[in-house]
C-alpha cells in the first residue's frame, strides 16, 4: 500500500446473500428516528416469485467516488469527506431536487408535507457520519441522525444485516471480504451492474 493511501468508505451489497429481510432499512429508520415518509435505505427486489430470476439488494446513497449530486447542486451544499463519505448541509440546501435527478440510485429523499409537493431540505444516508454541525451535538442528531462513525461504530444498517450481505468500510476491506466469497463460490457477478462506475469508479 502506497504512503499516500487514504481509506475510501464504501457500501457493497452482496446480492447472493441479501434475502430482503429489511433489517437494514428498519434499523436505519429506527436509529435516526426518521419520518415514515423518508427512506434513507431501501431493499429492492426484482422479478419477485420468478424462478431463478428473483434477486434482492439493499440500496442507499452509495457515497460515489465522483458524486453526481455534488456536481449538479446549484447551492453547493454537498461536501465529500477525506474518507469518501458524501454529506450535505441541510441549512444550505434549497430542496430543488436536482440531486435526485442526477443520482443513479434514487438516494435523495425529500419531506413533502406542504401543498403542491413543495420539498423541504433533502435527506439521505450519511453512512451514520452525521453532518456539518458539531459532532454529536443535539443539532447534528436532529438534522442528520446518529453519528456512529465518530464513535468508532459500524453504520447501523450493516451492523444489523442478518446475513452480512451488506458490507461497509474501507473499500479495500470490503473488496477483500467480497473477493473471498466470490472465490469460495466459484462464480461472481457476470458483468459490472448498472451504476458501477459512478459508485466505484476511480476519480
Amino acid at each position: 500500500m502506497s504512503e499516500d493511501y487514504y481509506a475510501r468508505m464504501k457500501f457493497y451489497c452482496d446480492e447472493s446473500r441479501c434475502i430482503q429481510c429489511d433489517g437494514c432499512s428498519v434499523a436505519c429508520a429506527e436509529a435516526h428516528e426518521l419520518p415514515v415518509g423518508i427512506s434513507r435505505r431501501k431493499v429492492i427486489t426484482l422479478n419477485e416469485g420468478i424462478e431463478k430470476k428473483e434477486f434482492s439488494t439493499s440500496v442507499a446513497c452509495m457515497h460515489c467516488t465522483d458524486a453526481p449530486c455534488e456536481q449538479v447542486c446549484p447551492v453547493d451544499c454537498f461536501y465529500i469527506r477525506e474518507d469518501g463519505i458524501v454529506l450535505h448541509d441541510k441549512d444550505v440546501c434549497i430542496g430543488c431536487g436536482y440531486c435526485l435527478f442526477a443520482c443513479p440510485f434514487g438516494a435523495p429523499q425529500f419531506p413533502q408535507d406542504g401543498a403542491f409537493g413543495t420539498k423541504g431540505a433533502m435527506d439521505k444516508c450519511t453512512m451514520c457520519a452525521g453532518g456539518p454541525e458539531e459532532t454529536n451535538s443535539a443539532k447534528e442528531r436532529e438534522l442528520y441522525g446518529q453519528n456512529r462513525i465518530a464513535e468508532g461504530k459500524v453504520p447501523v444498517c450493516a451492523a444489523m444485516c442478518s446475513t452480512k450481505a451488506l458490507l461497509v468500510g474501507d473499500s479495500e476491506d470490503v473488496a477483500k471480504v467480497y473477493r473471498e466469497r466470490v472465490a469460495a463460490r466459484g462464480h461472481g457477478i457476470l458483468s459490472a451492474p448498472y451504476g458501477w462506475d459512478a459508485a466505484y469508479g476511480n476519480k
Binding site: 434475502i19 430482503q20 419477485e48 416469485g49 442478518s162 446475513t163
Partner: protein, 758 residues
C-alpha cells in the same frame, strides 16, 4: 420425531448446517422466518458448495436462494418423499449398514415406496417426474445432507405422518448422527423449545414425563407436596391423568352442546374462564369459532405487553381484563434455542409503569387462589446426597436462579441435570469463546458446547450438539437412539446392532434404558450396598444421580442404545401413508387416499376426519388452494410488530398473494380488494397483490393481521392510544377445519377457498 428415535427436537444445529453438502427444505422458509439463522445456509452454499433444495407450494425467499426448487401441491409431502425413496432404493443409494444396525421397520417403507413411481408422484404432487429424479440424485449423492422443516410440514391433518416420513428419508440415507446431517426442525419463536420442554402442553408434565400416577408421584416428591393434595386439585384422579384441551381447540370446550358443535369429554362441564399469558390467540385457526367462544365465556384475562387483540375481537363487554405484562427486557432467566441449547438473558430495565413479569402475575394468582407456598416450594429444595431425597435448604427463593436449579434437579428425561444457573450464566458471559459451527468452547470453556445442548447428563457434561452421534463418546455428547419402545416388537430386536455403540462405550452392543434392576448387568459394574439403597427406580427418576454418573464412567447413555423405528405400531398409520387433506382440490385422489376415521375424545374433543372430508366434493365450490404463512417484519399474531411504525410501513395492510392469471379470471386487479370465502362459511376482505410466487391454483395470505373481522372494522374496540399502526383481517378467519390425528395442530397449510372480486 419422538416416536421415531426418542426425542422430538432438532437433531443438529443451525451452525452445523455449514457442514452440509446438501440441504433439503420441506415447508420452511428460513430466509423469512429465521433471517439470521439463514446465514448458515448461505455460508454452506458459499464455503461447502452445498446444494440448497427447496420443496414448497410457493416460490419463497428461501427458494430464491435455492439451486433446485419444486413447487409441490399442499399436503403431498409424503408422496414426494416416497418418490425420493423409490428412486433411492431402486438405485441402491441408501445406507444398508446403517439401516440394518440402527433402524427397525424399513422393509415396510421399501414396499410402500415401490408404489410411488416418479409418474405417480407427478400426478399427486404436481412436481414433474424429471425434477423429482434430479432432486433425488443430487440429495442422495451429496452426503452429508441435512433435512430442514417447519410448520409447512406439520400443520396438516396427517402432519404427524409427515414428521415421521422426513426422519425415515434421513435414516435410509444414513444422514443421522453426523455433522452436516440430521433433521433440523426450525422452531418458530424465541424459546419455543424451552416452552415445550417446560410443558406448555396439555398432554405431559414438564420434561415430557407422562400423566401417569408414577410421574405425578415423582413430581409430588420433587416439589415437596403430597400426592393427595395434588390429586385434590382435580375433579377426579381420572381427569388428573387425562390429556387437556389444546390451544387449537379450546374453543370447542366452550361451545360444546350448541348445534353442530363437536362433543367434548370434560368431566361434564364446559369451559367458563380463559387466562391468556402472551399468546396470540387471534392467529389460531377457526377465528369465527374463537370469537364465538370468547363471547360466550364468563371471564377473560389477557396478560400481554400489548393489547391482546382477542379483546378487540370479542363483543363481550364485562369481565374482560387486560393486564400489562413485562417484556423479555424487563426480566431475566434462561431461554432454550431451537438446537436444545440454553442461554442466560439479563434484565435491561425494571418493569415499566404498572407492568409485571409473567412469573409475578402467576405468583400473585397463586396467592389469591391459596397455593402460593406449594407453588414455589420446589425452589427451596435440594436433593440430599445422603438420602437421595429432596430437603428444604432455604426459606426464601432467589428468582430466577432457584427456578433454573429446580428444573436441573428434577428433569432427567431430556438430560437437564447439567443446566445449573451458574453454568448457563458462564456460557452466556463467555459467548465469544465458542465456535460458530461446532459450538465447541475454547480457553476456559474448553470441553463444553455452547449453551450445553440437552441431553446434558451431569453437572460436568459437555452438552450434546448432535443427537444420536455414535462417532463421539457419551461424555463428548455422543449417543445412540433412545430405547423408548420396548426391547422387541413382533419378535424383532429393537436394540441397536453390534458395533453401533457410541465411541468408547463399555458395552459395544445395543442396550436397554438403565434402571435399578439392570444397571449392574448392562453397565458391567458392581454397586456398593449404599449405592443400591440410594438408587432410584430408573434413570428418569433417579434423584441419587448414581445411574447418570455410572453411565458416564462406562461411556454409555442412560436412555439406552436402540434402533430408530420406521413403524409406529400404536398410530393409526403404522408407517406414514399419504392421505389427502380434509379439503382437497383433487376429488379423485380423495377417493384413492381418504383421510382417517373420525377420532373420539381427541384432547377432550371429538374430531372429524373422514366425515368432514366426504361431506361433499369441496373442490367444486372452493377450487383454490389456500396457504398461510409468515412475513419477515411480523411476529406471531402481529400486534407488537404492527405497533412499530417502521415495521408496519413495510406491510401496512393485510393482503393476498395472487397469481395475475388467477386474478384475471376473476376480474381482480393488482391492489384491488377481494373476498376470500372458506368452506366453513366465513370470509375475509383483503387487498390483492399480484405475485408469481404462487401458481394459478393457489393463493397465499399472511397470518399476522387482526382487528378486522369478516369485512367489519373492529379497531374501535382498542382502548384509547393502543391501536397499532396496521390492522387487517385475520388469515385464520378463513383457514379450514382440520386437525392432526396425533398432535391436533390445525391444518392451515392445505385448505381450500373461493375468491371473488370485492
Amino acid at each position: 420425531m419422538a416416536n421415531t428415535w426418542g426425542y422430538g427436537a432438532m437433531t443438529n444445529s443451525l451452525g452445523d448446517i455449514q457442514n452440509a453438502k446438501a440441504i433439503i427444505v420441506f415447508g420452511a422458509n428460513p430466509a423469512v422466518n429465521h433471517p439470521v439463522g439463514f446465514q448458515h445456509f448461505l455460508k454452506a452454499k458459499e464455503r461447502n458448495n452445498a446444494q440448497l433444495i427447496v420443496i414448497d407450494p410457493r416460490y419463497t425467499k428461501t427458494a430464491a436462494k435455492s439451486d433446485l426448487y419444486a413447487q409441490i401441491r399442499p399436503g403431498t409431502d409424503i408422496p414426494f418423499m416416497y418418490g425420493m425413496l423409490h428412486i433411492i432404493f431402486k438405485n441402491g443409494w441408501h445406507d444398508q449398514g446403517f439401516v440394518d444396525d440402527r433402524v427397525y421397520g424399513m422393509d415396510d417403507i421399501k414396499e410402500e415406496a415401490k408404489k410411488w413411481t416418479p409418474e405417480r408422484v407427478e400426478d399427486v404432487t404436481g412436481v414433474p417426474a424429471d425434477k423429482l429424479i434430479q432432486i433425488t440424485r443430487v440429495y442422495a449423492k451429496s452426503t452429508p445432507g441435512t433435512l430442514v422443516w417447519a410448520m409447512g410440514l406439520t400443520q396438516h391433518s396427517n402432519g404427524s405422518s409427515n414428521t415421521r416420513m422426513a426422519p425415515i428419508l434421513q435414516l435410509a440415507l444414513g444422514n443421522l448422527g453426523v455433522e452436516g446431517g440430521g433433521c433440523n426442525i426450525l422452531r418458530g419463536h424465541d424459546n419455543v423449545q424451552g416452552a415445550t420442554d417446560m410443558c406448555c402442553l396439555s398432554h405431559t408434565l414438564p420434561g415430557y414425563y407422562g400423566l401417569s400416577k408414577g410421574s405425578w408421584g415423582y413430581f409430588a416428591k420433587s416439589w415437596g407436596v403430597d400426592y393427595d393434595w395434588l390429586k385434590g386439585r382435580f375433579k377426579s384422579e381420572e381427569m388428573m391423568g387425562a390429556k387437556g384441551f389444546t390451544l387449537a381447540r379450546w374453543y370447542a370446550g366452550v361451545l360444546a352442546g350448541k348445534p353442530g358443535e363437536d362433543k367434548i369429554h370434560n368431566a361434564g362441564t364446559n369451559l367458563k374462564a380463559l387466562v391468556v399469558l402472551g399468546n396470540g390467540i387471534t392467529a389460531i385457526a377457526q377465528q369465527a369459532k374463537v370469537k364465538e367462544a370468547l363471547d360466550e365465556l364468563e371471564l377473560i384475562v389477557l396478560a400481554d405487553p400489548f393489547v391482546n387483540e382477542a379483546a378487540v375481537l370479542t363483543d363481550k363487554k364485562d369481565n374482560v381484563y387486560i393486564l400489562p405484562a413485562a417484556t423479555q427486557f424487563e426480566t431475566s432467566g434462561s431461554v432454550t434455542a431451537t438446537n436444545r441449547a440454553s442461554q442466560w438473558r439479563n434484565k435491561v430495565v425494571d418493569p415499566l409503569y404498572e407492568s409485571k413479569t409473567d412469573h409475578d402475575i402467576m405468583f400473585e394468582l397463586a396467592k389469591r387462589l391459596g397455593f402460593y407456598d406449594e407453588f414455589t416450594k420446589g425452589m427451596l429444595l435440594k436433593d440430599d446426597p445422603k438420602t437421595a431425597k429432596p430437603v428444604q435448604v432455604k426459606d426464601k427463593f432467589q428468582w430466577p436462579e432457584d427456578a433454573t436449579d429446580e428444573i436441573a434437579r428434577i428433569i432427567k428425561t431430556i438430560g437437564l441435570t447439567g443446566w445449573t444457573a451458574e453454568r448457563l450464566k458462564k456460557h452466556s458471559e463467555n459467548w465469544h469463546m465458542f465456535d460458530e459451527v461446532s459450538g465447541r468452547g475454547h480457553g476456559p470453556m474448553k470441553g463444553e458446547y455452547y449453551g450445553l445442548p440437552w441431553p446434558c447428563w451431569t453437572t460436568e457434561h459437555s452438552g450434546s450438539p448432535i443427537l444420536y452421534n455414535i462417532h463421539r463418546s457419551v461424555a463428548e455428547g455422543g449417543m445412540g437412539f433412545r430405547n423408548r419402545f420396548g426391547l422387541e416388537h413382533d419378535g424383532v430386536d429393537l436394540l441397536a446392532g453390534k458395533g453401533s455403540a457410541p465411541k468408547g462405550s463399555a458395552n459395544k452392543d445395543g442396550y436397554p434404558e438403565i434402571n435399578a434392576k439392570n444397571i449392574e448387568e448392562v453397565l458391567g459394574i458392581t454397586l456398593t450396598a449404599e449405592e443400591k439403597s440410594l438408587i432410584g427406580k430408573n434413570w428418569k427418576v433417579d434423584t441419587s444421580g448414581i445411574i447418570a454418573q455410572k453411565c458416564m464412567e462406562q461411556g454409555m447413555a442412560p436412555y439406552g442404545n436402540a434402533k430408530a423405528r420406521a413403524k409406529v405400531w400404536t398410530f393409526p398409520d403404522q408407517i406414514p401413508l399419504h392421505r389427502e387433506p380434509l379439503h382437497s382440490p383433487r376429488q379423485d385422489l380423495v377417493e384413492a387416499y381418504p383421510s382417517f376415521a373420525d377420532k373420539e375424545n381427541h384432547y377432550r374433543v371429538d374430531t372429524k376426519y373422514i366425515s368432514k372430508q366426504s361431506e361433499k366434493d369441496w373442490s367444486k365450490e372452493f377450487p383454490v388452494n389456500l396457504i398461510t404463512g409468515r412475513l419477515v417484519n411480523m411476529n406471531g399474531a402481529g400486534v407488537e410488530t404492527r405497533a412499530s411504525k417502521y415495521l408496519a410501513k413495510l406491510t401496512p395492510e393485510m393482503f393476498c398473494d395472487i397469481n395475475p392469471g388467477l386474478a384475471a379470471n376473476h376480474g381482480i386487479r393488482d391492489g384491488a380488494m377481494m373476498w376470500i370465502h372458506s368452506p366453513e362459511g366465513t370470509k375475509i376482505k383483503v387487498k390483492a397483490k399480484f405475485s408469481h410466487s404462487v401458481a394459478e391454483d393457489r393463493v397465499f395470505i399472511p397470518m399476522h393481521f387482526a382487528g378486522y373481522f369478516q369485512g367489519e372494522d373492529r379497531t374501535g374496540n382498542f382502548p384509547q392510544g393502543t391501536k397499532p399502526y396496521a390492522s387487517g383481517e385475520s388469515a385464520n378467519t378463513v383457514t379450514n377445519y382440520g386437525y392432526d390425528i396425533i398432535t391436533q395442530i390445525p391444518e392451515t397449510k392445505g385448505g381450500l377457498c373461493r375468491i371473488e372480486k370485492a
